[in-house]
């Protein structure tokens, strides 16, 4: 049965990605906007000159990118391309391809968003667990209220305020950019430290905005677990409080949180759109925001696919490792 479950799970994963890809494929195409025309218009604007034969140039590029074909055919061809690992060219940054753009932006997003999500997850869960733990000091419980407030504030707004206070007024950290000017990206310690310094403010705004989510969720879970017999039993057995806290308490409360983690990666990429734009970071979020403004279909498709695929795969992985963490769960193990 385990195999059957696996197959069903994979089919679900494929369905999610396929539906999302399909929705995202058609939405931008419903609009009257033409990214190629807009792109040439933009060049014409910034160079003070619109070529007379703009329409012909646009038509030529439409043929080149296959945009002249019936929409359904384009859809099928695009999907076929996706299966071959070809995400198509960027319409507004041709000759760049979507894959090239994604790969050049990805490291920044991975470093910033993955790291902040993990830090936020670890810290938030720890705080939440401590807050629900009857023996923990009072100030930890007092932290919950501000965390809840922060969770309600969009990361963008936090970012704005952090720039103003930390970077603007106190001049403690850089206001934006991925690394200092004049530095070339390399794998030296110097560069990594410099890049890290630039990531601190965006990271803090993302962490603060999501910390409360984990903390509150964990606290709720912890409170529920507190009443469970095995915790009481462990206490009566005279186990060391720390052992009870880590072995019985955190471990059991953490499980449902891990499921949330997969979804959180997705939402964090999305809130990253705003934060990356705010800080002028060259990650996926900024790329996506720019592509949406310019209606660069293929880049939008590519990044959305990438994001949704990551979420789906993460959900899948979480599902698979769940039984390892929780011995109570065996998928139809008969």
């Amino acid at each position: 049965m385990r195999l059957g479950y696996l197959v069903r799970r994979i089919l679900f994963l494929i369905a999610v990605v396929w539906v999302a890809a399909t929705i995202v494929f058609f939405i931008p195409r419903l609009s009257a906007r033409n990214p190629i025309r807009e792109r040439f218009a933009e060049i014409a604007r910034s160079t003070g000159f619109a070529p007379k034969d703009l329409e012909q140039i646009i038509a030529a590029y439409e043929v080149k990118f296959g945009l002249d074909k019936p929409l359904l055919q384009q859809y099928i061809e695009y999907m076929a391309g996706v299966l071959r690992g070809d995400l198509g060219p960027s319409l507004t940054r041709y000759p760049k391809t979507v894959l090239e753009l994604i790969f050049s932006a990805l490291p920044w997003t991975i470093v910033l968003l993955m790291l902040t999500t993990l830090i936020s997850f670890a810290l938030g869960n720890l705080l939440g667990a401590l807050a629900s733990w009857p023996r923990s000091p009072k100030f930890v419980k007092g932290l919950m209220a501000p965390l809840m407030m922060l969770q309600a504030v969009p990361a963008y707004l936090l970012g704005l305020l952090l720039i103003f206070f930390i970077a603007f007024r106190l001049k403690l950290l850089p206001m934006g950019g991925a690394y200092s000017q004049g530095v070339t990206p390399s794998l030296t310690l110097e560069f990594i430290l410099d890049a890290a310094r630039h990531q601190i403010l965006p990271a803090i705004s993302l962490i603060l905005a999501s910390l409360g989510f984990w903390a509150l969720g964990m606290r709720g879970m912890g409170i529920t677990i507190q009443g469970e017999d095995y915790v009481n039993f462990a206490e009566h057995k005279g186990l060391h409080p720390r052992t009870i806290f880590t072995q019985y308490y955190v471990r059991n409360a953490l499980l449902p949180q891990i499921t949330g983690l997969a979804l959180a990666f997705g939402s964090v990429i999305v809130s990253g759109v705003l934060v990356e734009q705010l800080y002028g970071l060259p990650g996926l979020g900024g790329l996506l925001g720019d592509a949406i403004l310019k209606n660069d279909y293929f880049v939008i498709y590519g990044i959305t696919l990438f994001v949704i695929l990551s979420i789906a795969v993460l959900m899948f992985i979480v599902d698979l490792i769940y039984p390892l963490l929780d011995p109570r769960i065996r998928y139809e193990s008969r």
Binding site: R39, S46, T47, K52, F168, Y279
Partner: protein
């Protein structure tokens, strides 16, 4: 083309790619783990460091040499231009000179706006037109060469001009094709361009670099090998003529290093620029942050600021100066007069009374006061008031027209009267309505730079009863919507006339005969009389009395028919940080007379003049 056979053209292209385009592989981060393309495959180019543009920090990048801060100019530039990494060829689709790519290419001539001087650059002297302006001869300077050591010859000029004429995918095709019969190389150093009709402005308009217009000469020996010159991006080590090499280009920043073997240094034509390195730094959308970085000396200059911001920069950092120093208006007059454009072919803008009513609803004094802190920026002219054009505006003929049509008059009653004459009535929302339709007066503008003026303008029109919709539209499709002639009002700055008013009249002409703004006749103004006038005017150079007479007549059409509604002259309020660099071009330090916008084709001249501070 069949899939399995490599055609000759493809073979050529492949070999070209292998030769000059190895850099594309280096730029293409499809495989982030792979090391940059081996430098050995690249053509010998001793001075130019190997292309190490590696957009991913994960990839190994050869270190570029250290350059001290006081030999480095750091400039802030908008985000989106960083992403066409590797597109350096002026003929490539998507080429943009504004992110200092202009420093790779030398033109035949430079024009300095503030001294009204044309400087022969690759050319050895002024162009020699024949008497009826049907031919021009240009001589090239001695010792000019591409960065790969190949001499720049008349062959390159001929290739450049004739390719413009023949390739309709090139932006200057429509600027060249109607005029140029043929460009021919008389000898290695002499080019003759034969026109189809008298073209007294051709060399200035097309072959002279000014602001964002005029184009450089491209290397024939590289581009003639390309099957499709618009598809060839160029890459970081494309042989070029200008003083800098791009040594690093990521989506975060671009680094340009001075090329010591630049022909102008080798021949002694120009002194060695002090700026050994120029960095274009990607900046976000928040101009407050950009301003603060100028204050913090992180940036030496950045693209132009709004009125209040530049004043605050000056307040916070005394080392920062502007074109007018510490004085208002902190900027210089750009070539970019902004007007409200609309499609005259569609209802209701086809009715001249509606256009007049819109013009009457614009309170230009209030614009000066509210948006520009009292600076006299608002305008009634469709051209920048540079000295020769100011002279034209002040001429008795034009002044009589201003007296007659009163384009500056703000008069809501007269506006209402015109609307009523046109058959409009105010509806319950206080908006003009006819046959159930309001006037589609939503104003589109450019994000960022129009974010201050457009909301104010929209409110003025709304108060006068024009339906400005859900507010301004700053989306990127605005320009395209205007070009497509969609309903609405478009705040658009048109660069056209620089030395005489001809270009702007040509702009309004239905049949583009080739002008600075190309076929940018967004008004779709169609008047055979006007057309005839413009065609006649084309034959006379500026200063000819006949030209002035015709220009005044054309001006009357502009006011009488309200081809567009002139709003403001654009001021470039550029911050010059003198902490590391001095000798920026200002009112009191005109120098050779170039305007201070580093993103223009003339930007390299501004940077070349800089001197290290202290």
């Amino acid at each position: 083309m069949t899939k399995n056979k490599i055609t000759r053209r493809q073979l050529l292209r492949l070999s070209a790619l292998a030769g000059t385009g190895a850099v594309i592989a280096a730029c293409a981060p499809a495989t982030p783990a792979a090391p940059a393309a081996p430098a050995a495959e690249q053509p010998a180019q001793p001075a130019a460091p190997a292309a190490e543009a590696t957009p991913t920090p994960a990839a190994e990048a050869p270190q570029i040499p250290e350059v001290p801060r006081n030999r480095t100019v750091i400039m802030g530039w908008g985000a989106s231009d960083f992403d066409n990494i590797g597109v350096t060829s002026p003929f490539a689709a998507g080429h943009n000179h504004q992110n200092f790519n202009s420093s790779l290419w030398d033109p035949l001539y430079y024009w300095a706006a503030f001294s009204d001087t044309v400087y022969p650059w690759l050319a050895a002297g002024d162009p020699e037109y024949n008497a009826d302006f049907t031919e021009v001869t240009i001589k090239l300077r001695d010792g000019i060469e591409w960065s790969d050591g190949t001499p720049i010859t008349s062959k390159d000029v001929v290739f450049t001009v004739n390719t413009w004429r023949d390739n309709d995918k090139l932006d200057y095709h429509s600027r060249v094709a109607p005029y140029v019969k043929e460009a021919v190389a008389v000898d290695d150093k002499t080019v003759k361009i034969i026109f189809k009709q008298p073209s007294p402005r051709f060399v200035f308009d097309v072959l002279t670099a000014h602001f964002d217009t005029g184009r450089p000469i491209v290397p024939a020996h590289v581009l003639e090998k390309q099957a499709d010159v618009t598809a060839f991006p160029g890459g970081l080590d494309m042989p070029h003529s200008g003083p800098y090499n791009i040594v690093s280009w990521t989506n975060n920043q671009k680094i340009f290093d001075l090329r010591e073997d630049w022909w102008a240094i080798k021949t002694g034509f120009q002194p060695v620029p002090e700026a050994k390195r120029v960095i274009m730094q990607r900046i976000g959308d928040d101009m407050g942050v950009v301003a603060q970085r100028v204050v913090n000396n992180e940036l030496d200059t950045a693209l132009d600021f709004r009125n209040d911001i530049i004043a605050n920069i000056l307040k916070q950092n005394p080392k920062v100066t502007t074109h007018t120093g510490q004085n208002e208006p902190h900027g210089y007059l750009d070539w970019w007069p902004n007007a409200l454009w609309m499609n005259l072919e569609i209802e209701p803008f086809s009715d001249v009374r509606v256009r007049r009513a819109i013009n009457r609803a614009v309170n230009r004094d209030q614009i000066d006061e509210v948006v520009y802190g009292g600076a006299k920026v608002s305008t009634i002219y469709p051209f920048p008031l540079y000295p020769p054009l100011q002279k034209f505006a002040d001429s008795p003929g034009v002044q009589a027209l201003v007296e007659k049509y009163q384009p500056r008059k703000f008069d809501l009653e007269e506006s209402a009267k015109l609307m009523e004459e046109a058959g409009y009535k105010k509806n319950a929302d206080g908006l003009w309505e006819k046959d159930g339709k309001t006037v589609p007066a939503q104003i589109s503008g450019f994000a960022g730079i129009h974010a201050d003026i457009v909301p104010v303008l929209a409110e003025m029109l709304r108060q006068a009863g024009f339906d400005t919709g859900e507010g301004p539209d700053f989306s990127p499709e605005a320009y395209n919507n205007m070009a497509q002639g969609r309903p609405g009002l478009y705040m658009f700055g048109h660069g056209a006339s620089l030395r005489d008013p001809f270009a702007v009249f040509e702009l309004f002409n239905t049949k583009p005969t080739g002008n600075v703004a190309g076929s940018n006749n967004f008004s779709r103004y169609n008047n055979p009389e006007f057309e005839k006038l413009v065609l006649e005017m084309a034959k006379y150079p500026a200063g000819d009395p006949k030209f002035d007479e015709l220009a005044v007549q054309a001006m009357e059409f502009y006011y009488k028919d309200v081809i567009n509604v002139p709003i403001i002259q654009w001021l470039h309020r550029i911050a010059y940080n003198q902490t590391y660099w001095v000798n920026w071009p200002t009112e009191t330090n005109v120098g050779e007379g170039y305007n201070g916008a580093f993103w223009h084709w003339t930007g390299p001249r501004v940077i070349a003049a800089l001197k290290p501070a202290g």
